[in-house]
Symmetry: C3
Subunit: 213 residues, 3 copies
């Protein structure tokens, strides 16, 4: 189980770093900007969660493997030859990225909920689910704020909702069933909702423009 | 006294949530974005204060009533019928919102100063006033950064100054007189300055454009 | 040694405050905005570092001298007569500002690394260098995010790299030689790289536009 989680977490880290590095490239940043934005996207959510929980210094500071994975992924994205190779098979590239990104969202959310539950023994389901969601979507929000974009959770279809839903599922199953079941099903729910939402272009209701002030 | 503070704080929470939800609607966000931005505006200032004071996890995590109030207020703003009803009597709506917002600023600032004073026994007046002001204006700054606007404290008339002034009044009265007097007069000063500044369009000096580099 | 560090740190604080105040003036903010942005730029990096290290409340809260220096510098920048006087001798002004800014970056980075090393006894070189760099560049990133600019570390030549390089030099010398040597040489490296990079317009590689997605 632990090895599996480690591998999935690494996959998520790489996917998040790639999305940060891609954003930096689009904004014409140099190699350092690409690495910084890749790193922030990959580790930002967990760092904010640890600070809120009082787990200082954040766990990422003693986890060189995760940091190295994020840096290497960002550098690879920066190299033109690698980017061209990825782009030649754009369809495969996009599918892989989306799958890894969904897995990352799922794993990060569930790990966030687990961490919160371990620290706050008598905490409410609300706090645990909130911190799980923040761990899952936090890195992407930091990426967008630093890059000057509107944070993606405000317009990307169902992204944050998938994370919140999975966190709530984890809390419920963890309470009434078992930790392993909660982890597996929680991640599965997030990945499924995220992929289905992306495929069918689900969206949440918006106010109609003419009705606004 | 405590019940009064609770009611006023709830009013402030609702007003801040409404201002966040309104911003999200203006930015064409969907229902989730409206709730997230409403919630962040309402609870952001207190959360940042608690992290700076080392009060982790922040108090809001064990305060479901405040969170629920912020979420419900945001959802109500999202519903077209409610928005239309509010807009029909635009004048009353704006007056109510401004009054609630001023009360929120006052209450949040004073509570922030109180919290800082309770944690940092030997702290300087400067630290206490700073943390009070940060509690009062922090949620609005987070709202604007996330929505991609210039933070309102940088251009809204006298807003932050009212908060800082009230915090300093609280510190002085709390030291030389009594806590209740400090609370009531501190809130009153902030509400009065804020409302007078909005009514008479007071503004702070700006550098003239031709003089700039 | 300590007096020297205190003086250099004050110089760095003033330089950072001036850069924040200048940004605020460029954005047409009023006097309060100028002070807030000057203060955030000067103390933001150290504040974020202290929160990440669990040193709450941050050290700046009990350091009125540094806060006063940042506020006074910001107010001076706001006064037209002072600004005109500075601008009459623009060359000297720019050289002074750049030198002070470089010294500030150097001093803040090394102090950040020292602080991290003192708190995290068994910490890796990576964590210490990271927190040093964050202390050095953090205030400027906050300034740019609040002012709605793309953070300067993403495009300013070699800025963050100078800070990171100096932090790594500090870590190495501190480990294998002595603390004083590490401090002096670390600051010198950062100042030298920063000034040389600005003079020769060094830049890091960027992806070519046509290669981007």
């Amino acid at each position: 189980m632990t090895t599996w989680i480690f591998i999935l977490q690494l996959l998520g880290t790489v996917a998040f770093a790639v999305s940060g590095a891609m954003t930096a490239l689009r904004k014409q940043m140099d190699i350092l900007g690409v690495i910084v934005l890749g790193l922030v996207t990959a580790v930002g959510g967990g760092m904010v969660r640890d600070v809120l929980l009082g787990l200082t210094p954040p766990a990422i500071f003693s986890d060189p493997v995760t940091v190295a994975a994020a840096v290497i992924a960002s550098v690879l994205v920066f190299i033109p030859a690698v980017r061209r190779r990825l782009l030649k098979t754009r369809r495969i590239y996009e599918l892989t990225l989306r799958l890894a990104d969904s897995l990352g969202l799922g794993i990060f959310t569930v790990i966030g909920a687990q961490t919160a539950c371990g620290v706050l023994h008598d905490s409410s389901w609300f706090t645990v689910a909130f911190l799980g969601t923040m761990t899952g979507v936090g890195g992407g929000v930091l990426r967008d704020v630093l890059a000057g974009d509107l944070p993606y959770i405000f317009h990307k279809h169902i992204y944050a909702l998938a994370s919140l839903g999975g966190a709530l599922v984890w809390v419920a199953l963890h309470h009434w069933w078992s930790e392993s079941a909660a982890t597996i099903i929680g991640v599965a729910v997030i990945v499924a909702v995220r992929l289905l939402a992306a495929h069918f272009r689900w969206s949440l209701p918006k106010a109609k423009e003419e009705e606004l002030i």
